[in-house]
Symmetry: C2
Subunit: 257 residues, 2 copies
């Protein structure tokens, strides 16, 4: 569990959670247990996704995948225990949060992970990899909406809820998280196809859209994600705005493609 959680990571989900919490007037302390839980649960999903019967990845976060070091049995158990620990941690360690609010974020986390969220996305991805057929744009987007986008969404929504956001703010940050998650996948896809990253799947935005439309899609997602922050204090929104720009700017690196 420690091997994978403490591997080098951008900690983007915890950062999204804390940034969303602070954006709506909450504190870092209020969001921290949930931020830790998000990282533990995300790591759990990585460990399971990397297994030979799943994506069969040998590397994760710059080092050997969990099962390459500890074996498949312990990798499965480490994932299970990290999910359990994440839930227990946020339930037991959150302070200055009303219990109703905590139950709501725990339910959000369960939903983002479960059979309508990350598990569903992984299932669809496995099925498409097995069939070997190229996905349509919509099918590819659907997978990423359930995987990366659902988890980014969960991170910002939970941060917003913990920070005391109203329903309209929660809705805006949900949309922001979703757009950011999709943006991440498109940018990763461009990096893969340009040869800078390992190819993960047979399907690709570049393949189905072509390079020019792909760049336009990045532009669209970039402005869409930022538009959901327009109702907030601009200064406080800086971290969330920066996440968008940093991601979108990475596309420049792949121009040579």
């Amino acid at each position: 569990m420690r091997y994978s959680v403490f591997a080098e990571s951008s900690r983007v989900c915890p950062l999204l959670c804390i940034s969303a919490c602070e954006l709506v007037g909450g504190s870092q302390d209020q969001a921290m247990p949930m931020a830790c839980a998000l990282e533990m649960v995300h790591t759990a999903s990585f460990i399971h996704d990397d297994l030979p019967c799943m994506d069969d990845d040998e590397l994760r976060r710059g080092k050997a995948a969990n099962h390459k070091v500890f074996g498949e049995d312990l990798a499965i158990l480490a994932g299970d225990a990290l999910y359990a620990l994440g839930v227990e941690y946020v339930a037991s360690n959150s302070k200055d949060i009303c219990p109703d609010t905590l139950l709501r974020v725990i339910a959000e986390l369960g939903k983002a992970v479960g059979s309508e969220g990350m598990v569903a996305g992984q299932y669809l991805e496995l099925a498409s990899n097995e069939s070997g057929e190229e996905l349509t744009f919509e099918a590819l987007r659907d997978i990423h909406l359930r995987k990366t986008a659902a988890y980014a969404e969960c991170s910002t929504v939970c941060g917003a809820i913990l920070g005391g956001a109203d329903e309209e703010q929660i809705q805006s940050l949900r949309q922001y998280g979703r757009a950011l998650g999709l943006l991440y996948e498109v940018v990763e896809d461009m990096a893969e196809q340009s040869g800078k990253n390992k190819i993960r799947t047979p399907s690709s935005y570049i393949k189905v859209l072509g390079l020019e439309k792909c760049k336009e899609y990045v532009k669209l997602l970039r402005s869409e994600a930022k538009s959901y922050l327009s109702g907030f204090d601009t200064k406080k929104a800086v971290p969330l705005l920066c996440f968008v720009d940093q991601l979108a700017e990475r596309v420049r690196d792949y121009e040579a493609f």
Copy 2:
């Protein structure tokens, strides 16, 4: 997920949860979402434990193990999603339960499943199976305390908490659940060794204790489990008393051993 959850099962953990809740004056309705969550999470652990890299079991609950039907990848995902659904279900569907109480049972569930509970027990069992060495009585008991006993304990404790038990009652029902879980393992062990069930592990209570001491241990656990119910209304305690007697009486079937 449905294939494994709706397989024939004694539903003993849900029954323990509801019975404990009713024993302390709560209602079935108050315990039901948690009872369902316990069954989902228990099923999740079965699905993962049966995998080829773990216990490599082909049968579970009278039919083919999940991975034999759906493949290892989907079996891992089904387990992950069932755990997530269990947590989400109890967080979202419990009624007439104060949120603080719900957070407490969610934390209890996480603890029973995680790296100090079922996952730890499964780890110790895998390690002992791999070494091929016979365990001592204490080591065997430690594995079962973390696996079956921890989960039976979680079931009664959560039922008690949801039913509004005081701390002394919770403590008694924790001890009861623990003794019942151990009793279950010893009786199962006797059934295995008598050839009525499939042998699961190289280690066995009968092997380390001998038949006579094993029977004495059953007697001890039986009276111990029942003793923890002595402070409760005898009539209301009937279901929990019956669980103990039914288990212990099964030993008669193995007398021929």
